[in-house]
Symmetry: C2
């Protein structure tokens, strides 16, 4: 069984869920109203071609001429693309989202997790990655990456895609968290898609629009062959009507979008600064709506910390499923001011109780690739 965030159902009385990377502004009012007004649409099958939804996505992205692959959550799109890729080898930089590995193994493909972060998880050795990747492979990069929050800028990404293209490799960029980055929309690789025929981009409504219960992810590609193969393989009506209504309303909800961007800019900076004051924790800077943290206090790891915080109604994300993270790492979503204050108070209390130690600093690189075949 794989492990993801969002396991609040395994615990009782969770007041603050820092384990899911979800916009805390919650379900947009625009969607609630649209759902109330269109509830009887549920009595019809959705349009099998999802024409209105695709138009809405194209307007939101400010693009057309590419093909859009819709999924019941981004995970479905990820799995379909891995499964239907022409290539039998999948590479990614680890630690990252565990569904890339799971998708590769489910499709009987080789999975290569390239360890090329520096020891602080503040930089990656792209040259090492590119040297490791063999010809005729699919490379998946989560950008910004989950769980490190590390962001590869467009110039670097363009170089990566070009070098991969020379090796006849495809590049899948998972931009599930891109709307949280400081200079979105410029941070997205989308505007480069027309120059990079080997690139497909994945997005989701789940995270930025605060509705993980809705399940709507999408891929944007110029690869007609891939799009056609996915289309032939997908179940009919894989997107339910509630998700269609969501996609046709929230993407135009400028008030929600602006409020969310204001929230993330303010809270991410505040949260980072306040977390950084806790001496037993090392906070990794992040371009996304979460932070990876390392416990540098002896005798304490993420699992101990989770158990302590659960008693305070606080859930954190332990490193299970994020190989090669060790037990000392955990991930925290950036939530609203009240929640962030609550966990800061709890963390200050926990770490004051166990005492302080000085932070170590090590920027050397790990360089290793591990391979799994099913």
């Amino acid at each position: 069984m794989n492990f993801h965030g969002g396991n609040i159902y395994d615990y009782k009385n969770i007041k603050y869920d820092f384990s899911s990377n979800i916009n805390p502004l919650g379900v947009p009012e625009s969607f609630k109203n649209a759902l109330y007004n269109n509830i009887d649409m549920l009595s019809k099958y959705p349009d099998r071609e999802y024409r209105e939804l695709i138009k809405s996505l194209e307007r939101y992205l400010g693009m057309s001429g590419f093909k859009i692959i819709l999924g019941n959550g981004a995970v479905e799109v990820i799995h379909e693309i891995i499964s239907l890729s022409e290539f039998d080898r999948v590479y990614t930089i680890v630690p990252t989202f565990s569904e890339y590995k799971r998708g590769a193994l489910l499709s009987n493909k080789e999975f290569h997790g390239v360890e090329c972060y520096n020891q602080d998880y503040t930089g990656v050795d792209i040259e090492y990655l590119l040297n490791e990747v063999r010809e005729n492979s699919l490379v998946i990069l989560c950008n910004p990456n989950n769980p490190t929050g590390y962001y590869i800028n467009n110039e670097e990404m363009k170089e990566i895609s070009e070098k991969l293209n020379k090796k006849n490799c495809d590049l899948l960029i998972d931009e599930a968290f891109i709307e949280f980055t400081p200079d979105y929309p410029n941070s997205s690789f989308l505007s480069n898609l027309c120059h990079c025929p080997n690139v497909t981009i994945i997005r989701a409504i789940t995270k930025f629009f605060g509705m993980p219960g809705i399940r709507l992810g999408y891929g944007i590609t110029g690869d007609l062959g891939l799009w056609e193969r996915v289309r032939q393989s997908q179940d009919p009506w894989n997107i339910n009507t509630a998700a269609v209504i969501a996609g046709c309303t929230v993407l135009e909800d400028m008030e929600y979008i602006e409020k969310s961007r204001k929230w993330i800019e303010e809270e991410r900076a505040d949260f980072y600064n306040n977390l950084s004051k806790i001496k037993d924790l090392k906070v990794i800077p992040s371009a996304a709506n979460y932070h990876l943290l390392k416990i540098v206090k002896k005798g304490m790891d993420a699992f101990n910390l989770r158990d302590i915080l659960i008693n305070e109604g606080i859930l954190i994300r332990v490193p299970t499923g994020f190989y090669p993270l060790t037990r000392g790492y955990f991930r925290l979503a950036v939530l609203d001011d009240k929640s962030n204050t609550a966990i800061l108070k709890a963390l200050n209390f926990v770490f004051r109780m166990v005492g302080n130690e000085s932070q170590s600093k090590n920027t050397g690189f790990h360089r290793r690739t591990y391979t799994r075949k099913n």
Copy 2:
């Protein structure tokens, strides 16, 4: 591209959609209220184990001790079971739901469509089917069948399952329309499941509860190995929160259930009787919420008829995808009195215009199996 019902989006101004087999009572009020009251649940990931939903299904089915496989629509469950079956051959009686064949071919399995209906589609030659099926195969029976409405009773089904068991074959019974049958719940094979270890049953909320936009299907099985394989293969959070809320409310909505059963009993009989009065049409008796009809007027087929009726805002289901049905066949959902009256008026008008011919009657059996490999 496969073809299903529900393609109202390809046409403008469809007032009466007879192409989708959906309860016309529409979205249950109990669900609307539950959705309004719990809309903020969408801001959380669903429970990955779907514990509440499974409990609700067990209460509805009056059973426990079996494993439940949840799908984003019954189609997902069908495809997972075909794909993860131990066997590489799939048999079914044709004509039937096209997703069995599609699922088999997508999974690189042999598909065998056994033609063993009599020429009126009022009976099947089970012996012929059982003789055709080779050892170590998966047999799928839609019961009642789509599009014929033919129902195999529990005694016959038990015999089929036992004979298949001796051949080391599994039986998948698709009961998507079982709640519409006259003596439901006795008509369901569910109570026999404990005696038939090779049987899995599939159901859906889609049809009976009038919500095809919601996408919630489920399989019930005692085959722990199959259940575990599907669980490992399925995407996390494949059921969205709106579907969870639906499954936790409408299954207990006795008012909707009783109203729906009263509607289908009355309207199916009335609709059948009135359709039977049209001399150019042969109506096939049905245990489900739709009728297969044959046009016996020369110079007219289902495609001509569709084009004529579309001008009246009426959509019928042409036989595309229902091999070996010929162009003369079409399917009509049983709708509400107003809609049924509208199509009867239109059909009477069309067929009066082209004149009448006497009905032919032929109860001989087709017996043939066609095989497809990907």
